[in-house]
């Protein structure tokens, strides 16, 4: 079964490092091990490295270096944004608006705030996972203090018209945050163009290391820190900085900015080849997310009558790494809230299969998958009571 061939198609889960990123981090694991808070040479080296990384990451998204807060993950950036901005403004009101397909780090942060009296409106999405700016507008209230809509969704790849959404929110004088964790570093993202007040990003989504996220926060916007302690990160995020990881994020940002057009050019044809091929080879399958407004390396589907985890396991036995939004693959055993919000039934959502590709993938990889997948699907459909019933009827 195991052919020895390995094809990683789970870039949305995490990326390998781009060439050059690890090399940039290396000195900070050895001689340059100082703490940026220290006032001696070791501290100087670390501080300088932080400053340089801050400039690079800020440049990737068109912000100012002083506006950037380094965090430990995309999740932490979102928690800091949602909780920190809401609590910073609770004197003004306690109503928050988010889309129905936000990442759990946004949704569950709001749930936590609900326990202390905040109220939530979830804006729905259409069948492609698109948020209508007019729906956002209708959801705004006098006591709305924060709106958060993600830039791109990691599960279905849909890219929102954040600029239009931000406009209606800013017209109402309300703070707007966008979770750009799945987008930043992969497609052009510019905080000024977008007109947002806060933006989350994470290094391991653009060939940088795990453990490095950032929140860009427009100058002057008040945020209540999540982590209290020393005055690292301008007093907005205490704790000794993870210098090597931040340096890796800086290098990854620099490379992402430089190589973005080439990367997009590499990924889109692979994605489109997979989408075309899969829909042709596997009957009763459908593309999830938007057909064109989607992330370059992102191809997500539902394969009917079978379940995601078992597909994933059989593909894994062929050396192919993918993920799924099925209930069985989630540790909470719930089908993807994103797929359900897009109107898919539980039954169809169970067949979720997510291929996300990157710079290490080739056309051959895609063709290999297109060779293996139909067998896998057939095999599971032969076992499935649903398939039998459906074909019989």
């Amino acid at each position: 079964m195991q052919t020895g061939r390995k094809v990683y198609l789970d870039y949305a889960a995490t990326n390998p490092l781009a060439p050059g990123v690890f090399e940039a981090m290396l000195p900070f694991f050895s001689e340059a091990y100082g703490n940026p808070a220290s006032l001696h040479q070791w501290g100087d080296m670390a501080r300088q490295a932080l400053d340089e990384s801050r400039a690079k990451v800020a440049s990737l998204i068109g912000g100012a270096p002083e506006e950037l807060i380094f965090t430990g993950s995309g999740t932490e950036s979102n928690n800091l944004a949602i909780k920190g901005l809401s609590l910073g403004q609770q004197a003004k009101g306690k109503h928050i608006v988010v889309s129905a397909i936000e990442h759990f780090s946004v949704l569950h942060s709001v749930r936590t705030l609900e326990k202390s009296g905040f109220q939530l409106t979830e804006v729905p999405v259409d069948k492609h996972g698109v948020v209508d700016p007019d729906e956002v507008k209708r959801s705004l209230r006098k006591d709305t203090v924060l709106v958060s809509v993600m830039l791109a969704n990691g599960e279905v790849g849909t890219i929102q018209s954040i600029k239009d959404i931000a406009r209606v929110v800013k017209e109402a004088g309300i703070l707007f945050h966008t979770d750009a964790v799945a987008a930043a570093g992969n497609i052009p993202v510019n905080v000024k163009d977008l007109g947002v007040d806060a933006l989350s990003l994470a290094a391991n989504q653009f060939y940088g290391p795990k453990g490095a996220g950032a929140l860009w926060l427009r100058r002057g916007v008040r945020v209540i820190p999540l982590l209290d302690g020393g005055i690292q990160e301008g007093g907005k995020r205490a704790g000794t900085e993870n210098v090597p990881t931040i340096v890796g994020m800086g290098k990854a940002a620099e490379l992402a900015q430089k190589d973005m057009p080439a990367r997009i050019k590499h990924c889109i044809p692979l994605r489109d080849r997979l989408i075309r091929g899969l829909l042709a080879e596997v009957k009763h399958s459908l593309l999830t997310g938007h057909p064109s407004q989607r992330l370059p390396g992102h191809a997500s589907f539902c394969i009917e009558y079978i379940e995601g985890e078992s597909m994933l396991m059989l593909l894994d036995a062929h050396g192919i790494a993918v993920s799924s939004g099925s209930a069985c693959t989630s540790r909470a055993l719930k089908a993807s809230h994103v797929l359900l919000a897009m109107g898919l039934s539980h039954e169809v959502a169970q067949g979720s299969l997510l291929f996300t590709m990157g710079m290490d993938n080739t056309t051959d990889d895609i063709d290999y998958v297109l060779g293996v997948l139909p067998q896998v699907v057939d095999r599971l459909r032969q076992i499935s009571p649903l398939y039998h019933k459906s074909t019989a009827s």
Partner: protein, 133 residues
């Protein structure tokens, strides 16, 4: 660390007794798509013994492995014996299952029991003892 142990993987990769039985003596279903797993068991009974068992399962790796091993565990048993197979015993027989798979995916014994009850009902017999899981 793989999520599943070796025996689970063996039954998942090479499931025994997949399929349906034409004119089965009993049919049992469990599960629903919200939970994520659905199993259908088909049985053939002769002289109060399970002489053939087949299953079809929609669901995760655990659900498929569970279904497969249940058919092995029950094959040739009397109905009373088969009713003593519990979901817990099935998990043990598989060498353990991940904690979060114990409830939703480990319903093979229930599906088998449903098939046996269905047979007993159809043949107008009274239910035989079922161990609590």
């Amino acid at each position: 660390m793989p999520v599943y142990g070796e025996k689970v993987m063996d039954h998942f990769m090479h499931p025994r007794n997949v399929g349906e039985i034409e004119n089965p003596d009993g049919v049992g279903d469990v599960g629903n798509p919200v939970c994520g797993d659905m199993m259908s068991f088909y049985i053939k009974v002769k002289d109060n013994r399970l002489v053939d068992i087949k299953f079809k399962t929609f669901g995760c790796g655990a659900a498929i492995a569970v279904s497969s091993i249940v058919t092995e565990m029950a094959m040739g048993k009397t109905l009373e014996e088969a009713m003593t197979i519990t979901n817990k015993l099935v998990a043990q027989e598989l060498g353990g299952l991940p904690q979060n798979k114990l409830h939703c995916s480990n319903l093979g014994a229930d599906a088998l029991h449903n098939a046996i009850k269905n047979y007993l009902e159809k043949t107008g017999q009274k239910p035989v003892g079922e161990k609590v899981t």
